[in-house]
């Protein structure tokens, strides 16, 4: 069983980074640090890590649990050397200062030896009340058993509840019970700290109007997730708590406990509830019944993230989810039926309406618990008025105390992608308190030597995951096991639960050893995500990692055919047949490696690109910063102030100075990228620069894309026809440069969503609401008598921006809602600008004669540039021409081509602060690659059999990379270090003298045989 190192044998005196909190953010930070070969200690007060996300059922946009996709990117080797996980551990005291902290950690007794426990469940069976590991029963428990939530995969004993310790010891076959386990206290040296403790979800039972905790069928969003989850209380069946019947009418009430002024309310917006409500409503219809009526009561629909608006449109148009803009006051339960009635105001008709629902979900937001406030005190960091960590205005992961960084919800309410970005950013910042990455020594290999299996008859072991219900819920895993067992050469066939969980992995490893297996088939999810993990397993078991075949039973079978279990089962048989037959022909192979180029190319010299460049340069990385404009600065140069009131100019000037002066950064302005080649870790990019377009080629190992976006200037509302009609960008400058002109105004009108959330540009520009409010507040500061009207569709002041929204309303700035079907009209007559809008509440058209019409136009992607670059770099883009990251939730900074990272507004619209965060994150992610001294090219390369080769030159001509040549012996030679492994030559070779390793013809034929029963 793979074990994480205990601190006792953590011999290194090297400074570590302490990550507090093992939720997704903490895990991401820890993994980033470990992957860039920094020592990291991850502590969590719970007995296993995973945090809040593990309680969610499915997440946007693919509506599946993706947490498991985090793990495979870290090889076991790295994990063992650099990552030290301490569950049930808390920070007691912190002394010292950045670079030289001394942290006192206290680990509570587990009463279980984690090295021995196999999580067999015997203890739980006999002493259920005493075991803190309770999968699948408590609806509130984090019970998703997928890695790494169930890390470490071991039980924990609540000693106070145990009466007969000897009896307990007896039932434990593994002899893992430590009855005299005690609290342990250690003091460690850490250079820096990442605080990632998240927050709690608000408990609405303190409110008396919604009946939470009182009415059985009123649940919180998180409880609803648990109900729908396969590992939840009803095994993934959506039923009412009261009568276990499928609800037919479900309502969501948004902003419960948030954006309020009442006693138990918090004023800020939690930022995530709109999306999760939409997701829950959609999943309800998708998984349970199309006919279930779903209604969301909301104040503003805040789908401000990347492609979130499309999600909203999908919910409305494709799923028919009803949205009602209203804040219901209370819920009344019918005591007999347990149905729930909601009374709400109908906006258009200005009347009250009552409607009955089977279930009501309260969308609650985040709260900082007392324990976090305590922890902050112990750490010595300041909190903001809402008790979230107070952070730097231009760098949200930096706290008031040097050396302590934050990420995730403890910084401010946010969703998973933003948490992931901050986690990588915090890791990157924390690493800068350690010695530079370029000076780090090589890691040693901890794998056991490989067993030579040549000459052995195939002995195949088949292991099949049920992946919770994802596989086992659709097909009968036992039947698969039975089927596989009948195939030739299969000596072991068994089901392994979650195959990627550490106990299953240990079980497989043990089986390989005891049964002397030499080939392994894993039936589970996609090899794209899990092949590395199982290859590591093979290496630990002493087998070559190419002797394993992953059969994609989940992504390409049970997920796709969940409605047709019979067909899925038949297909599963066939797929296993393919895999077993294929693995029989597999051979041990050696990976090829090349030295890594440790330079970085940063494309775009705006605030994002400069920040990323500086961060990498600080780590000793040579950075080429390429900018097409004559000067650095980008879009941020045209912004004067942030909503927090900070001056952007001086900040930018400082940044530009730092970048220009840095010895590791070569700034290339007036430069255009013209060509690109190479492989991750060894890229070659051609640029032309200067007035005469001088050509040069840059060698680099990683690329950060920070090309930004453009100010949107759509042809709308008379923009460009009258000098009183301006964009918010223009207004921002005007306020700063000519306050007298502002003073002369009487009335200012702003229109939101101009050129955004429209069919031609369907997404939300994210920044416009806060920009409008920022400018409005500044105008009010110049002259409080100026009347300001903001015409909007939804106000999306997420997080603490809500404070400014409230302030604006307090200052009598008027907000008037309009709908997309009934947009305001703008007239210019006699040099006067008039705006007409239908006031929904008043139910009539109103007119403003305005001195300044400010259009919130937001930004649009730089289509021409992203298109050019996407073609050269072979990177995907979104429909609205932003770059598309590898995984919208879990890998928001990585691109689909390894070695490419993305940050700033070329990813999606965002504020300067958010761009900076992502810049740090990109720099951090880039370091995970740059930390390697060599790149692994894999073993899939073309190999020539000289005796068969006719030296026909067909491969020489066919190779897209011009690698093969005819050697002195008169046959084709393919340099393994250069071969990219496409296999074109192998397919074209008329003498069949070339084979692509790992995809040899006999293997492909064997797979076909396996499919068609030629060999069983």
């Amino acid at each position: 069983m793979q074990k994480l190192k205990n601190s006792e044998d953590n011999k290194s005196n090297d400074k570590s980074v302490l990550v507090i909190g093992g939720g997704v953010g903490g895990i991401r930070s820890a993994l980033d640090l470990a992957e860039s070969r920094r020592n990291v200690i991850l502590i969590d007060k719970s007995y296993s890590i995973g945090g809040l996300m593990t309680q969610l059922d499915r997440t946007f946009p693919t509506n599946n649990c993706d947490l498991c996709t985090i793990s495979p990117h870290l090889s076991e080797n790295t994990r063992q050397i650099h990552l030290d996980l301490k569950p049930m551990t808390q920070l007691e005291q912190l002394t010292g200062e950045t670079g030289n902290f001394k942290a006192t950690l206290v680990t509570e007794p587990r009463y279980i030896d984690m090295d021995k426990c196999t999580a067999c469940g015997e203890c739980y069976k006999h002493f259920p009340e005493a075991v803190r590991f309770t999968p699948g029963l408590d609806p509130r428990a984090p019970t998703c058993m997928r890695y790494p939530q169930a890390t470490p995969y071991a039980f924990s004993i609540d000693i106070e509840k145990i009466t007969d310790i000897t009896a307990l010891k007896k039932v434990c076959k593994a002899d893992a019970i430590i009855s005299d386990d005690t609290q342990k206290k250690i003091v460690i040296d850490v250079a820096s700290i990442v605080l990632s403790v998240g927050a709690e979800m608000f408990d609405p039972s303190v409110l008396d109007n919604f009946g939470s905790g009182q009415f059985e069928n009123v649940v919180t969003g998180l409880e609803y997730e648990r109900i729908m989850s396969a590992s939840g209380p009803f095994q993934g069946d959506l039923v009412r708590v009261s009568d276990k019947k499928r609800p037919q009418k479900v309502a969501w009430i948004q902003c419960v406990g948030s954006r309020g002024i009442n006693k138990a309310d918090v004023p800020y917006c939690s930022g995530v509830c709109c999306m999760y409500a939409l997701k829950e409503a959609m999943v309800t219809k998708e998984r349970f019944a199309e006919s279930i009526e779903t209604t969301i009561f909301y104040m503003d629909m805040r789908t401000f993230g990347k492609d979130y608006e499309l999600y909203l449109n999908r919910a409305k148009n494709d799923y028919g989810i009803r949205m009602i803009r209203s804040r219901p006051h209370s819920i009344i339960e019918n005591s007999k039926t347990k149905d729930l009635s909601i009374t709400y105001a109908v906006e258009e008709a200005a009347l009250q309406k009552t409607e009955e629902f089977d279930m009501v979900v309260l969308s609650t937001g985040f709260r900082i618990p007392e324990t976090t406030i305590d922890l902050a005190n112990r750490l010595g960091i300041e909190l903001n008025p809402h008790n979230f960590a107070k952070t730097d205005h231009f760098n949200p992961v930096v706290t008031s105390k040097p050396g302590i960084y934050v990420c995730g919800v403890v910084e401010s309410p946010k969703d998973i992608p933003e948490t992931m970005v901050q986690a990588s950013a915090a890791a990157s910042m924390a690493a800068s308190d350690l010695p530079a990455i370029m000076d780090m020594p090589e890691d040693e290999n901890t794998f056991v030597p490989e067993r030579d299996v040549s000459g052995e008859e195939p002995k195949i072991g088949v292991f099949i995951c049920d992946c919770g219900l994802d596989i086992g819920g659709v097909v009968d895993v036992d039947k698969l096991v039975e089927f596989a067992g009948t195939r030739t050469d299969v000596v072991v066939s068994q089901a392994v639960g979650y195959g990627c969980s550490s106990d299953s992995m240990a079980l497989i490893e043990a089986s390989i050893k005891t049964n002397n297996l030499n080939r392994v088939v894993i039936g589970g999810c996609s090899p794209r995500t899990h092949e590395t993990k199982f290859q590591d397993l093979m290496r630990r078991a002493g087998l070559n990692k190419y002797l394993v075949e992953i059969v994609n039973l989940r992504d390409q079978n049970t997920w796709a055919h969940m409605g047709q279990p019979k067909e899925a089962l038949d297909k599963a048989f066939k797929l296993l047949g393919i895999g077993i037959s294929g693995v029989r022909k597999s051979r041990p192979l050696m990976d090829q490696t090349l030295p890594m180029n440790q330079n970085a190319l940063v494309v775009g010299g705006g605030v994002t690109g400069m920040t990323a460049a500086l961060q990498l340069a600080g780590q000793g990385v040579k950075v080429y910063l390429v900018e097409r404009a004559p000067v650095l600065g980008g879009l941020a140069k045209s912004i004067r102030k942030t909503i927090e009131g900070d001056d952007v100019g001086p900040f930018m000037n400082q940044l530009i100075d730092d970048v220009t002066a840095h010895e590791n950064i070569q700034v290339l302005t007036r430069s255009i990228i013209v060509d690109h080649s190479g492989i991750p870790g060894r890229f070659k990019t051609g640029i032309q620069s200067g007035p005469r377009m001088n050509y040069m080629q840059l060698d680099h190992g990683v690329t950060i894309l920070a090309t930004g976006a453009l100010q949107n200037r759509p042809d709308a509302y008379g923009l460009g026809t009258h000098n009183s009609i301006v964009t918010q960008f223009d207004l921002d400058a005007l306020i700063e440069d000519d306050p007298e002109k502002i003073k002369a105004m009487n009335q200012v009108v702003m229109i939101q969503c101009v050129g955004s959330r429209e069919p031609e540009n369907p997404n939300c520009s994210r920044i416009c609401c806060q920009t409008a409010i920022k400018n409005a507040l500044r105008i009010k500061a110049i002259d409080p008598d100026i009347q300001i009207f903001i015409l909007y569709r939804d106000i999306r002041t997420y997080g603490f921006q809500e404070d400014y929204y409230r302030e604006a309303r307090n200052l009598d700035i008027k907000f008037i809602k309009f709908s997309i079907d009934n947009k305001p009209e703008v007239w210019v007559e006699n040099d006067r600008v008039s705006v007409f809008v239908d006031d929904m509440i008043l139910g009539r058209k109103i007119q403003f004669e305005t001195d300044c019409l400010a259009l919130s136009t937001g930004m649009v992607a730089d289509d021409e540039t992203t298109e050019d670059l996407s073609m050269m770099f072979h990177l995907p883009r979104t429909l609205d021409h932003y770059f598309l990251e590898d995984h919208v939730k879990l890998r928001p900074v990585d691109m689909s081509v390894r070695g490419f990272f993305i940050a700033g507004t070329t990813h999606s619209p965002k504020t300067i602060r958010e761009s900076i965060t992502q810049a740090y994150a990109a720099a951090g992610r880039a370091q995970t690659l740059l930390a390697k001294k060599e790149i692994n090219l894999g073993a899939s390369i073309a190999k020539v059999d000289g005796t068969k080769c006719a030296a026909c030159l067909i491969c020489v001509r066919a190779c897209p990379f011009s690698i093969p040549y005819i050697n002195e012996d008169g046959y084709s030679y393919i340099d393994p270090a250069k071969c990219q492994g496409c296999g074109v030559c192998a397919a074209d070779c008329p003498a069949k003298a070339i084979q692509l390793l790992a995809f040899e013809d006999d293997q492909i034929m064997a797979k076909l045989d396996g499919l068609f029963g030629g060999m069983n």
């Binding site: 068969k948 006719a950 026909c952 066919a958 070779c989 008329p990």
Partner: protein, 222 residues
């Protein structure tokens, strides 16, 4: 190299239909290089024949083999172990290979699976062009390295006919006029005057006009 091209499948099928066990023999020389009869094409043809006969409800046994060179008896000898198990031999080699096999295994019918085309060179990937007619009396030395016998549609030896336009032959705008090429080359070499010498009527005996040709190297013969 000798170039070849696979025969239409119908023709091949007609040849081998009467037999149940076929020995399908490729050659690792010229026909491999021109992708007509190497290991890969042998595999493809075998597969195609299987598809055909299986569709008809027949299973035939096709044994695939590829020899280093089918035009050398020693290599052809390698078939000896398989020959008894075959009713007929299908050869993917050039005519020389087919005949070498036919000569060695007189008791078995041998059929060609390719049409032997010409002596050619590869112009680019997948394109082969005729370059030599094997006339036995090479005149490339005086035609700037471009052969009018092989490359002029009329084998003209004294210059282009009147049908040349834009440097292309009258038979097709895709065929270069050999004489235009020769002329350009001679000019480039400063050998324009070569052109004016009349090339006398060619002696076609070395080209095969005198019956099947043979080369005998006394010093090498045993």
């Amino acid at each position: 190299m000798i170039t070849a091209e696979q025969k239409p499948l119908n023709e091949i099928i007609a040849y081998i239909s009467p037999y149940d066990r076929i020995l399908l023999v490729g050659c690792n020389e010229c026909v491999t290089v021109c992708s007509a009869g190497g290991r890969k094409e042998v595999g493809l043809l075998a597969s195609a024949l299987n598809l055909h006969f299986l569709k008809q409800g027949r299973t035939i046994d096709i044994k695939e083999m590829t020899l280093e060179r089918q035009c050398d008896p020693e290599y052809v000898e390698e078939l000896v172990s398989e020959i008894d198990r075959a009713d007929a031999i299908l050869s993917m080699a050039c005519g020389c290979g087919v005949q070498t096999i036919a000569e060695r295994y007189k008791e078995k019918p041998v059929f060609p699976a390719v049409n032997t085309k010409f002596m050619g060179a590869s112009e680019s990937q997948g394109v082969w062009v005729e370059r030599c007619k094997g006339c036995g009396d090479c005149m490339l030395g005086i035609t700037g390295g471009i052969c009018p016998v092989a490359r002029c549609s009329k084998h003209l030896l004294n210059g282009p006919c009147g049908g040349t336009s834009n440097g292309m032959c009258e038979i097709s705008p895709d065929v270069e006029c050999a004489w235009c090429l020769i002329w350009e080359r001679l000019k480039a070499l400063g050998m324009e005057n070569r052109y004016e010498e009349i090339m006398e009527a060619k002696d076609w005996r070395p080209a095969g006009g005198g019956g099947p040709r043979k080369i005998i190297r006394e010093d090498l013969s045993l």
